[in-house]
């Protein structure tokens, strides 16, 4: 339950309660403006009936041919609005846009290997690990196993243009690549 609407430049004045979360990065303004000036139809927020932002998603379309796909660059929901199905809604919306507007074959995203809650959630949405990317992230300083803290999983879900599920594989967790091998 929420209002789904476009993510606008001026929302940057109102997203503090989402971004002060451990897992969410606040980027330089040119990061957000870069997305809005290229893929405005792939960035959205959900807000409460009172107009408070609950979470947002930032996505893009990349690749061509069999590699054409939607990519989730950032998805974040404020702690107080978790477990309300917001992420599911964001993801299904982005999948629809990737499918219909961008003619993508799949949607993919990166997630820290230590962020088990998020990994389980995405698996519930039909995503699976395609590969493990070494040292994709900076260290969070949590003192966990540095490999897990810095490595990321590349997770994918096929769309309607990939009925044979060629864009995913079952043994993705066993396949490791280094960060410079991925776009």
């Amino acid at each position: 339950m929420s209002v789904l609407r476009p993510f606008r430049a001026t929302d940057m004045f109102k997203f503090n309660h989402i971004n002060l979360d451990l897992w969410t990065e606040t980027y330089a303004i040119n990061f957000y403006l870069g997305y809005f000036s290229r893929w405005p139809d792939m960035c959205a927020v959900q807000e409460t009936p009172q107009g408070r932002i609950m979470g947002y998603v930032i996505g893009k379309a990349e690749g061509s041919g069999a590699e054409r796909h939607g990519h989730v660059t950032a998805l974040s929901v404020a702690p107080e609005y978790r477990r309300l199905g917001l992420s599911r809604k964001f993801m299904s919306w982005l999948e629809q846009v990737s499918d219909e507007n961008q003619r993508g074959l799949f949607v993919d995203l990166y997630v820290r290997c230590v962020n088990t809650a998020a990994i389980t959630m995405y698996e519930g949405f039909g995503y699976s690990v395609y590969r493990r990317v070494k040292e994709y992230y900076s260290n969070l300083g949590l003192g966990l196993n540095p490999r897990d803290e810095e490595d990321g999983f590349d997770m994918r879900k096929p769309l309607s243009r990939d009925p044979m599920r060629r864009s995913v594989r079952a043994n993705g967790r066993d396949i490791t690549v280094s960060a410079h091998e991925v776009p």
């Binding site: 609407r5 004045f13 503090n16 002060l20 606040t26 405005p40 702690p79």
Partner: protein, 956 residues
């Protein structure tokens, strides 16, 4: 040639400006007229801060009107670095005129205008390009430019419709229909909506292609909804929404709102027969209830939409006097609470529906009170927390006595500690589910403090929150609470520590730095050379530089990628950040800190004068985020944010205006610059003239205007500081005006300095021959008669001594004590700024102002004596803060939250925090908090005290 140029580019790319300059010189030796190399050298000079030399080369290149792409590109960077965007426009316009067939030059000329928001010229260029190059996107550029010109606040009202009509005519002439591209479609709809052509717009969105665009583009869909509404299709929108909810399972709240609006549409549109309308609406209410009921049945607990829609329906029915069942709202609330009480958003969801009184309230309270603190799961705990928040919201004033509130606070603290058991196994970086109980407790304690003024409540809040922050290390909410409380307790070092832990970045500096930088000069130790706060001001202001350097480029990119829907927001974003209130509040604090630290010379005075005058012409936007601070205070009480404001006054536009007036006036007196000089010495563009009519009045008139609404934002001590500042400047103005050297002399001096630096004369200056007399030229008129200084000036220092004594006797809060002291110091510094000119004995002698010098000397020694006295008292105050007794007092004050038995002992996963190795909220933990608070207070008072003496010594 390429062989010679490449190393220059390489050096520039790697940031080695020095070697770039050397490489340029090498080429220029052989080819002194190579424009590209001159431009590149200018760029390297700009980047190495050698502005004067860069300017010379830059002007040379511009004068020869370059047309080749590399030179133009290099010059674009030079001019951007110098802030000369107007010159960039001229440069491209000249180049395009020389090569009118060059499409790339046309595009660059368009972009140059876009960067500075010159929509009129942009529109004309785009139109011309469309005619010449016949590409559709130029047409859309011109349409968008016309629309943006219509939106620009400087555009006269009458012209706006003309521009919109022009945009409409242009877009209708397009060879391809706008729905080929979602952003063109969006632009087209926007123009139709603004012209009120709703029928045409409706036809477009409801056409087959229009529907396809709207179904997969949120921006267009937003406009579609608006157009339906504007066309008065509320009922139809409701029907369509019902369909979407049922068939497409859409749970967008906007659809539910559409159904609700449709239900009451007969009453809100002007009905001729009100009674008949009421009957019709009543029937619709029944239907809507059934409809939402069905949704609830289908969704169960999976989605809140249906449940909330039922609540909203009941609320609106009540508002219209059409509620039939008085218990309906209650049973809905109860069932909502049962279903979603375990979610943290429940409190926020229900808040709009629970403003009850009397019996209604009693019934609702009974429901909530059933929720006991015996929880065994996290959702249980949340249900309890929500019940507590909801109960608190409706507490009546009689239930809020300090006794009742402190009992409540202690109870929350107790349950909080119990609640920690549920989160025992969470990793250290996770938030504890019980956190909000600690926050509820802290807010109740703060409410007690607000009523009684008894600081011990704040100690309780601080100690409990410190403990909660230790258990929930990543909770920004707990830290924000602590920041507020530590500022009130006069322990700014601790506040800063927590602020830094939140890790505020990028644009958040604009929205959140108020937590730490609001009135930060009160806590600054710049007087003793500690620049922590000074640099915090500079750090937090870097975002404004990135905004002015980068955002315009994205406006250009949105144009070149034809993402028209983004442009109004990009432009608003840039403007709101550029003219941010917080930006200039921080700037003002920075000035106040600077003068306590740096020598007061013409460099400081002139630069700040120019900057503050620019700020004085701005139309500000307040982007500060205060909503982020949770508020669980009862509805009859001021919010937690207001309660913890520094002296109950948050500086805002009025405050800024007063301090700008004070400092512009002071710097104006001290400076030798007048407007004509300033114009000649200014390097970058002047800011765009403001559209606020008030800025058109003469500056001196504006500076002298005192407005009650501005003064209302000041604390009483700031208000008397303002009075003092006005009296001081009024008294000294005639003597400054008489002694200030003539503009020609000032310019001659500036030219001399430039010549020393660059070996070249300052361009465009014609120096009058009588200017060489170093400002001591003979004057025709007699010097003004020296009058006695207004009594207010010396009285101010006496009054502040009194205020300080009050504060010391414990009648005031620690932050108020510092406020009084730093303002007294500031008054002295203001006096220094405004009297430095008269320190030179030759100035006094030539102008026959001996009597004035005597007055100044007397006031200075009076002020110094006062500062010395306060300093001594403050230093001895600080010694008391550092004692074991003081710590003991704080620890004893925290009895309400100290666990007595030590039963609750948790094993903590990592105990490496700086605060403590203890995992319990026990005596030892609280002792450490007490030590930190008293130490921080000792440190600040001691150093501020010592700073007073140092400032006096510097300016003796």
């Amino acid at each position: 040639m390429d062989r010679q140029i490449r190393p220059i580019y390489e050096s520039l790319d790697t940031g080695s400006n020095k070697s770039a300059i050397l490489a340029c010189n090498k080429v220029l030796k052989k080819q002194p007229n190579n424009l590209l190399v001159k431009a590149l050298k200018s760029l390297a000079l700009v980047r190495s801060q050698k502005v004067e030399e860069a300017l010379l080369l830059c002007d040379e290149v511009l004068a020869s009107k370059p047309v080749d792409d590399p030179t133009l590109t290099a010059m674009m960077h030079v001019l951007r670095g110098l802030g000369r965007h107007m010159d960039m426009v001229t440069m491209y316009e000249d180049a395009y005129k020389q090569q009118p067939g060059n499409e790339e030059l046309g595009t660059q000329t368009f972009f140059a205008n876009v960067r500075i928001g010159n929509w009129k010229a942009a529109q004309q260029i785009a139109t011309k390009m469309h005619k010449q190059f016949q590409d559709d996107h130029y047409l859309y550029w011109s349409v968008m430019s016309a629309l943006l010109q219509a939106h620009d606040p400087t555009t006269p009202e009458a012209l706006r419709t003309v521009l919109l009509k022009l945009a409409h005519r242009l877009i209708s002439s397009s060879a391809t229909p706008s729905y080929y591209n979602a952003d063109r479609f969006h632009l087209h709809l926007t123009i139709l909506r603004q012209l009120g052509l709703y029928d045409e717009a409706y036809e477009m969105v409801e056409s087959e292609s229009g529907q396809i665009v709207c179904s997969s583009n949120l921006s267009c869909d937003e406009l579609r909804r608006e157009i339906w509404k504007l066309k008065g299709l509320t009922k139809e929108a409701g029907e369509a929404a019902e369909k979407r909810i049922l068939e497409a399972k859409d749970r967008n709240w906007l659809e539910f709102l559409a159904v609700l609006d449709a239900t009451f549409a007969d009453l809100t549109s002007e009905a001729s027969d009100v009674e008949a309308a009421k009957v019709a609406v009543s029937e619709r209410i029944v239907k809507a209830r059934e409809f939402f009921g069905k949704v609830v049945e289908v969704d169960g607990m999976k989605d809140r939409s249906g449940h909330l829609a039922l609540l909203e329906l009941e609320k609106r029915s009540r508002q219209h006097g059409l509620a039939t069942d008085s218990s309906a709202l209650h049973s809905l609330l109860e069932s909502y609470f049962q279903s979603f009480g375990g979610k943290s958003c429940c409190y926020e969801d229900l808040k709009p529906y629970i403003e009850f009184e009397g019996d209604d309230l009693a019934k609702w309270t009974a429901v909530l009170e059933k929720q006991t603190a015996s929880f065994t799961s996290v959702p249980d705990l949340w249900r309890y927390i929500n019940a507590q928040k909801l109960l608190r919201y409706n507490l009546s004033p009689s239930a809020l006595t300090p006794e009742a509130e402190s009992q409540r606070a202690a109870k929350h603290a107790d349950v909080y500690l119990d609640g920690l058991t549920l989160g025992r196994d969470l990793p250290s970086y996770d938030l504890q589910p019980a956190d909000d109980l600690a926050i509820l407790s802290a807010q109740a304690f703060v409410n007690c403090w607000k009523q009684t003024g008894d600081e011990s409540y704040l100690y309780n809040a601080a100690a409990l929150l410190e403990y909660a922050g230790f258990r929930s290390k990543k909770s920004y909410q707990i830290r924000l609470h602590l920041i507020r409380i530590y500022r009130l307790l006069g322990a700014p070092a601790l506040a800063l520590e927590h602020y830094r832990s939140i890790n505020v970045k990028q644009v958040q500096n604009d929205t959140l730095s108020h937590f730490i930088l609001s009135r930060a000069s009160t806590f600054s130790l710049s007087s003793v050379g500690d620049l922590t706060y000074t640099s915090e001001c500079l750090e937090s202001s870097r975002i404004y530089l990135s905004n002015s350097e980068e955002t315009a480029e994205f406006i250009v990119r949105a144009f070149s990628g034809e993402k028209y829907s983004q442009l109004p927001d990009f432009i608003e974003f840039e403007d709101r950040l550029d003219n941010s209130l917080q930006r200039d509040l921080v700037k003002m604090e920075h000035v106040r800190m600077r003068i306590a630290h740096e020598p007061i010379n013409s460099e400081l005075v002139d630069m700040e004068l120019i900057e503050l005058k620019f700020i004085f012409d701005r139309v500000h936007h307040d982007n500060r985020d205060f909503d982020i601070l949770a508020n669980y205070q009862p509805r009859g009480v001021t919010s937690f944010n207001q309660q913890t404001e520094f002296l109950e006054k948050t500086p805002s536009l009025g405050w800024l205006w007063v301090f700008l007036k004070i400092y512009i006036k002071a710097f104006q007196l001290a400076s030798d610059l007048d407007d004509s000089v300033e114009d000649k010495l200014l390097i970058g563009d002047r800011p765009k003239p403001s559209y606020d009519p008030e800025t058109k009045l003469p500056l001196n008139e504006r500076l002298a205007t005192r407005k009650p609404e501005e003064i209302a934002e000041l604390t009483p001590d700031e208000a008397s500081f303002y009075d003092y500042a006005c009296a001081l400047s009024e008294w000294l103005t005639p003597y400054h005006d008489y002694t200030r050297p003539p503009p020609s002399a000032v310019l001659a001096e500036a030219a001399k300095i430039t010549e020393q630096k660059t070996g070249q004369t300052l361009k465009g200056l014609e120096i009058a021959s009588d200017a060489a007399s170093n400002g001591h030229s003979k004057k025709d008129e007699e010097p003004p008669v020296v009058i006695d200084p207004p009594a207010l000036i010396t009285k101010y220092f006496d009054d502040m001594t009194q205020r300080f004594k009050q504060a010391q006797e414990g009648k005031l809060f620690p932050h108020e004590l510092l406020h009084i002291v730093t303002l007294t110091q500031e008054a002295f510094l203001l006096f220094v700024i405004e009297t430095t000119r008269f320190k030179t004995s030759s100035v006094i002698k030539v102008n026959k102002l001996g009597a004035l010098a005597q007055h100044i000397k007397e006031i200075r020694s009076k002020a110094s004596a006062v500062l010395a006295e306060i300093s001594a008292a403050l230093v001895s105050y600080s010694e008391k803060e550092g004692t074991a007794e003081r710590r003991k007092e704080v620890v004893e004050a925290c009895a309400p939250i100290t666990s007595k038995t030590g039963v609750r002992s948790f094993h903590c996963r990592d105990c490496t925090t700086s605060l403590t190795a203890h995992a319990q909220l026990d005596h030892d933990f609280i002792l450490q908090v007490a030590k930190r608070i008293t130490d921080a207070r000792k440190q600040i008072t001691e150093h501020v005290g010592k700073g007073l003496v140092r400032v006096c010594k510097t300016h003796a």
